[in-house]
Amino acid sequence: MTLRDAAAPVDVNDVPPSPDQVRSLVRTWSDPPGWLGWISALNHKTIGKRFLCTAFGFFILGGLLAAAMRLQLARPRNHLVGPDLYDQLFTMHGTTMMFLFAVPVMQAVSIYLVPLMVGSRTIAFPRMNAFAYWIYLFGGAMLYVAFALDIGPDAGWFAYVPLSGPDYSPGKRVDFWAQMITFTELSGLLEAIILIVTVFKLRAPGMTLNRVPLFTWSMLVTAFMVIFAMPSVMLASTALITDRLVGTHFYNPAEGGDALLWQHLFWFFGHPEVYMIFIPGLGFVSTIVPTFSRRPIHGYPAMVIALIATAFLAFGLWVHHMFATNVPELGKGFFTAVSMMIAIPTAVQIWCWIATLWTGRLNFRTPLLFVLAFFFILLMGGMTGLMLAAVPLDLQVHDTYFVVAHLHYVLFGGAVFPLFGAVYYWFPKYTGRLMSEKLGRWNFWLMFIGFNVAFFPMHLLGLAGMPRRVYTYPDMQGWGRLNAISTAGALLLVVSVALFLVNVWRSRRHGEVAGNNPWGGATLEWATTSPPPAHNFDAIPVVYSRDPLWDGAPREGQPSHVGGLAVGQREVLVTTLLDAEPDHRPVMPNPSPWPFLGAIATTILFIGSIFTPWAVVWGMVPVAITLTAWFWPRKRDAAAHLALEQQP
């Protein structure tokens, strides 16, 4: 073994680090300049911000599509958009919100925050992280280019066969939808692995698993759900696209296939997906509630167990989307029971939040307002959820606006309100400045009122029998007034989101300067500057408590920070899974354009395969080349790593 030739002196950090060492750390961890540097960027904060902006871009696009639908439905027999465009509108809206916004935006927030919260210099596998971002961006862009060319998907966001099959959806519309699934799920699955490894292996020493912040726990649980749920939709959409392109018969009853197979595979993913969106929202709430109650969360172990229990149960209730099909009645009873059981872990969490708020000293700032609205709206959505879990009632309102109202109460209330609260909460960490409290309150109240005005009438419309996915309706049904009210609410929502954008735009330059910890938060991201330096922490903190910034000061003789990590290389500390004991110190990769080029090659393969199955064959060549170049070590890097090498 001649890995290491000579023990060259290596510059490592002291505690506290000298100004020279800090300068060296900044140089080491910064993304390179220029356009090549821009596509080579790896820093998790850079990628996290890009991811977040892209996801919000899709949120705005999806919202505009919804506004167009509301305008069309504002009065009976309206002819603003025709049926074909309307089909594309609701498909694009659902697809955008579920696949391009709700799941990715949660991962985007965690890409930025989780490494800071666990006290790491970086996320695990930064190049894969960059690759996953580009794949997500290209997949979303492909879908919108197709939509702009009038080949946007039009079979609904869950693309039921036989409507989406080769007989009823000729052309390429559904193929674009199916490949969008491939893009986004690939990205989501990679991010899940990255997040799990970050939480398992890159925690600061002393941050045992039972000291991990609740938001990080929620993202960890979500990542595991992604791993077990997303393969199902990838399999479903691959089978759909092969049915459409190469003549397989998975969903073709004439040749032994089965249309319900699609529904099983889709909802085995689709229901857990609701919880992949909702559980990060719970994580936001569990972070904001203690900070603005100025006390630690009540019942931390119960909170963690409730998150895990919710995730488990989420896999046992997909058939409640299929109560209107011919699955066995006894089976439906089981799925009703599991659907009701979800209320138990949710109630445990609500109990803990209320106890925390009740015994805390409340600080009524904008993030807390969004959380309080979450309680109200989620409760409403939960109630209609219990109603829909009952088979007889579900049969009555299936495919009506009652379901549209329910799902928006759950998703908007359970995820979007906490997300907006989270943006107000962490904006100062991202930018160094606070968002305007005044505009924030306007944003909040317009959103709260607008949301309820837009979606509450849909319950009544659904009970009155208005079906989903109709582009218009006749006067005599008497649905006109409630629809007009709903559209007015949607316009209020548009105004509120516009105010939010104004607030973000103005505050990032002119907001009040925040300092490290403007809210008095307890978790490690507040221990560093706002915005954090390229290397996150001048020295990695040693953790002694669940709330390290509140009661985690080291005692006499205890170390406060980690010393001895190289400052001239991207060296990180890996700790053990359960107890976060220091274990080894690998070097993370340097910036590289290859993840970007690999994503381009993968995009060519995916889009090419919409047009010819042979693209899977010739498209593999550039993918293999780019991924190999990505992996292949550079001599200079290897030499630098050898200088730091220490055998186990």
Partner: protein
């Protein structure tokens, strides 16, 4: 946190850490972190590690969970489709046993060089890694050649009926895994001859072997279903 807890968690330098402690499972690295004033000095820790200590091991495990879920769901799809017809396979004879069984045996044998490569890597034995990786690469290429013939003995087409579709889906997905891991092994193999090498590459050999085990052992249920479910049911 009490002093005793701290000691146990390796954050505190303590003479007793050198002796066998109550935490026999503590990784070797934990004892190497030393307290110097306010600093927990990690300079003496190793720079790479094998198995569950390393990040790459967990990422590989995550990949295996994902791929395993895909295989499990496709097998579930197979039986779901089977439950909808009276005769299975509906119109064609089952796949010929000879080639598929031969491939299964070949795959099982190929675990041996992968294990040897992993063991050599953990000894940091470059010569051993070169030898056993080369043998592993040869095996993976041989496996792919046999697999190519296997497709001709399935006795069905993907577009003949749903049975054919799901059989080809299972075979296609498994072949994709064979192909990617064969290429992976080849690249790593070349790297061990050309360099530049560093410690973590020995860990990569271990993870590559682990993924090959997965590709082999996930084949067993697929083999059982594709070849035996039509015969026994």
């Amino acid at each position: 946190m009490t002093r005793a807890e701290l000691t146990a968690s390796g954050l505190q330098a303590d003479a007793s850490r050198q002796a066998p402690s109550s935490r026999a499972e503590a990784p070797p690295g934990a004892t190497l972190a030393a307290v110097r004033g306010a600093a927990l000095d990690v300079r003496a820790l190793p720079s790479f590690a094998f198995g569950a200590r390393s990040m790459m091991w967990w990422a590989t495990l995550g990949l295996m969970l994902i791929e395993g879920t895909v295989f499990a769901l496709t097998l579930a799809t197979y039986f779901y489709l089977r439950s909808h017809v009276q005769v299975w396979p509906p119109q064609e004879p089952p796949p010929d046993l000879a080639v598929g069984t031969g491939l299964t045996l070949l795959l099982l044998v190929s675990v041996w060089p992968a294990m040897r490569a992993k063991a050599a890597a953990e000894r940091l034995d470059t010569g051993g890694v070169r030898l056993w990786l080369t043998i592993s690469t040869a095996f993976s290429i041989l496996v792919l050649v046999v697999r190519a013939f296997e497709f001709g003995h399935l006795n069905c087409r993907w577009d003949s009926d749903a049975y054919g579709s799901v059989v080809w889906m299972l075979m296609g997905m498994h072949t994709f895994h064979l192909l990617t891991d064969a290429y992976d092994t080849l690249v790593l193999n070349v790297l061990f001859f050309t360099g530049p090498l560093e410690g973590r590459r020995y860990g990569d050999v271990g993870e590559n072997a682990m993924y090959w085990y997965f590709v082999v052992f996930s084949w067993l249920p697929i083999y059982a279903v594709v070849y035996w479910a039509p015969r026994l049911g």
